[in-house]
């Protein structure tokens, strides 16, 4: 399995400082997926979460429509939650369905995180969808998807 496109976590320095109190960052690469097509990745995501229904909304996924540098594409995500003992975001998983290693990273949160938000940079070799799945403390799942275009560019205008 080609590993050259695995998670590249490059939080900006200031953000990293801010994040330290908010989230435990963990680039979790297992269970690994090594897949080719969008549909296969969608299937694998379903399996990973035992086919449970996923709601929409809640996750704000901020990605550029077109990557300026495919090597370090910024991702900012924010999940709506009171982040109390009774109701908080447990984790957020990020997938890139065109990467040889689609499962890019996982963030784990606790109520002490205060806010379920995080930023990172990842490598995207080609145009693809980035999918975030949030797991709530009550077991509910939410997902969000955004396409990022990776282009050879040029042609000025």
């Amino acid at each position: 399995m080609p590993l050259h496109l695995d998670a590249t976590l490059v939080p900006t320095r200031r953000r990293a400082l801010k994040l330290a109190g908010l989230a435990t960052l963990a680039a979790v690469l297992a269970p690994r997926m090594a897949l080719a097509t969008e549909a296969q990745v969608a299937d694998e995501i379903k399996k990973l979460f035992s086919g449970k229904a996923m709601g929409e909304g809640k996750i704000k996924l901020d990605l550029p429509e077109i990557a300026e540098n495919g090597l370090v594409v910024p991702i900012n995500l924010d999940v709506e939650s009171p982040m109390t003992e009774a109701d908080f975001v447990k984790s957020v998983h990020v997938f890139a369905d065109g990467n040889p290693l689609p499962q890019v990273l996982t963030y784990r949160f606790t109520p002490e995180s205060g806010k379920a938000s995080a930023s990172a940079r990842m490598r995207l070799a080609q145009t693809q969808n980035v999918i975030a799945v949030a797991e709530m403390s009550n077991g509910q799942l939410y997902s969000a998807k955004a396409q990022v275009k990776v282009t050879i560019g040029g042609c000025g205008g």
Partner: protein, 564 residues
């Protein structure tokens, strides 16, 4: 139309200027006569006056600029302004063929109408109009804004790194500008301009990569006619993709719609009576942004070089399209009552160079700026034997000439030339001067490379560029027109998705299909990669035209378009 006698009476200095620039005096045609006063006629003036120029591309002197005959819109932009050309454009706006409007706004009968109505633009003419409007309204009621791509596009701008146009904008009394091609002078130079120029360089959507901090002031508030006007800058969001990122390695761009909303909200909270976005997004991106960001009164659009005689309303937001190359000056008067915009009048003022008496101070500045390069600029390389123009989604005859030059001078089977929207037009019989060549090629990364590509690779390049123009969602578009291809024909279905638009690639020389696995020699210029080797493209074009003496380009039928 001002008569020849009136012009001469304006003084010998002026007559000399006109003779020097080769401007013939147009005569009144078909009973249509026009004076400078006619151009400046305006309805009821508003609380304040917004003046907008954009995409001047450092064109100091009047020129011909043919609008595109092909300008396709996709998705929601299909078949709606500005994606109308020629008769469809005239019909939509209720204009007649053969008129000045038809000449300035479309490509219909271009050569004939150009000979009748003359060159357009020239910063001395723009200065005359701006001064007249300031005199009429009072300078305290007029805000003058530039939408970007002002500092690049000519030999003097390249040689001075945009300083020529900084001087011009300073003399014009510009209040603020935004950027796109300006960034191709590199981060240091742009920073210097931002810090030294007497006008504001605004951009809410540029951040330092490391700290995600704003690189430029996002907005500036002006007080005009007693109203507080917040101007928010929006740089071309795809600059690091469409142009060399290595020249601005520490800056990130993007549309940053949410940040735009925050800027608008902050402007309102700060007491702004009117919120104006000075944008270089391109028209379709602005149209979408206007539908998603609330509270913007006016978006002054740019980048896509569209000129429209009326504003486009999206909800409560007015979109202004001022064209390019100094052909037009937009005047928008806004009424402000109870801290709100309550009405507007708009005039797209065509800068007919033969009708406007140049501002003498600006004319002198232009002469001073061009003097050090006079010999180069005037050098006649050959003659145009057919209309040479650039604009159009797929090709232009000026680009065909560049592609021919590249193939010949670099001994390549295939030439690639970027789909830039800027560069003047030459009429049949016009001299092809070095000035004219530079007007279409003067960039900071001009190296003409020579390489090999397989048929498959070439198709991928074309698909990639096509998606940057014809993606149905404008937020996924970027850059200019389609890359120009010399030596190869192809078919394109603009209604298809990414990777599915291009077919029937044919090597024109043999008439045979391009083979996916076969290798071809390809030469091109304006690569966004670093350390590209090769001579500057203007040298190749100069050699080619000098050898050819006359350049005649047959209509290009090598791109077959469907799905429009």
């Amino acid at each position: 139309m001002i008569s020849r006698r009136d012009f001469l009476s304006a003084g010998t200095a002026l007559a000399g200027l006109l003779a020097a620039s080769g401007t013939g005096l147009a005569q009144a045609v078909g009973g249509q006569s026009l004076t400078q006063a006619d151009l400046l006629k305006f309805g009821k003036s508003g609380t304040f006056t917004l003046l907008h120029v954009t995409d001047i591309h450092a064109q100091l002197v009047p020129l011909y600029f043919r609008e595109p005959s092909t300008n396709l819109g996709v998705g929601d932009a299909r078949g709606v302004p500005p994606h109308l050309t020629d008769v469809a454009f005239l019909n939509y706006f209720g204009l007649k063929p053969g008129t000045r409007d038809a000449y300035s706004l479309t490509s219909e009968d271009f050569t004939q109408l150009a000979r009748t109505y003359g060159r357009m633009g020239g910063v001395d003419r723009i200065a005359a109009l701006v001064k007249a409007i300031r005199a009429e309204r009072g300078a305290d009621k007029v805000l003058l804004l530039d939408g970007g791509d002002g500092l690049q596009g000519s030999w003097s701008s390249l040689k001075t790194q945009g300083e020529d146009m900084v001087k011009v904008f300073t003399a014009l009394g510009l209040d603020a500008m935004v950027g796109h091609w300006e960034f191709t002078y590199g981060a240091d130079r742009v920073t210097e301009i931002k810090e030294k120029a007497p006008f504001a360089f605004l951009a809410q959507n540029v951040r330092s990569t490391e700290w995600q901090e704003p690189v430029f002031d996002a907005a500036k508030t002006f007080e005009k006619g007693g109203a507080k006007i917040a101007v928010i800058g929006q740089a071309f969001p795809r600059t690091p993709i469409a142009n060399p990122r290595w020249m601005i390695p520490d800056w990130e761009f993007g549309i940053r719609e949410e940040e735009m909303q925050k800027q608008v909200d902050a402007a309102r909270a700060g007491g702004a009576d009117a919120v104006v976005v000075l944008s270089h997004n391109g028209f379709d991106v602005d149209r979408k942004m206007a539908s998603r960001v609330s509270g913007i009164d006016v978006i002054l659009t740019a980048h896509t070089h569209d000129a429209m005689p009326r504003v486009v309303e999206v909800g409560k937001t007015l979109l202004v399209a001022t064209g390019s190359h100094g052909k037009f000056l937009s005047r928008l008067d806004l009424d402000v009552k109870d801290r709100k915009v309550t009405g507007y009048r708009f005039q797209l003022i065509p800068v007919f160079s033969d009708v406007i008496a140049p501002d003498p101070d600006m004319a002198k500045l232009v002469a001073d700026i061009r003097a050090p390069y006079a010999k180069d600029l005037a050098r006649e390389l050959g003659r145009a034997d057919s209309l040479l123009y650039r604009r159009g989604n797929f090709n232009g005859t000026f680009d065909d000439m560049i592609c021919d030059a590249i193939m010949k001078e670099r001994d390549a089977e295939i030439a690639l030339s970027p789909g830039f929207r800027w560069g003047g037009t030459l009429l049949p019989g016009d001299p092809i001067t070095f000035d004219a060549v530079a007007n279409a090629t003067a960039i900071t990364y001009p190296a003409c490379y020579r390489t090999t590509m397989t048929g498959k690779q070439l198709k991928e390049v074309l698909e990639d560029v096509a998606d940057n123009i014809f993606h149905p969602d404008p937020y996924f578009q970027g850059g200019g027109d389609m890359v120009r291809v010399g030596g190869v024909g192809y078919a394109i279905d603009v209604s298809q998705g990414a990777g599915q638009r291009i077919s029937d690639l044919t090597l024109l020389k043999t008439g045979k299909p391009l083979e996916a696995d076969k290798t071809y020699t390809v030469a091109g210029w304006a690569s966004i990669a670093q350390n590209v080797e090769g001579p500057p493209v203007w040298e190749l074009v100069e050699r080619y035209v000098t050898d050819a003496k006359t350049v005649k380009i047959a209509p290009n039928a090598s791109v077959k378009v469907t799905g429009a």
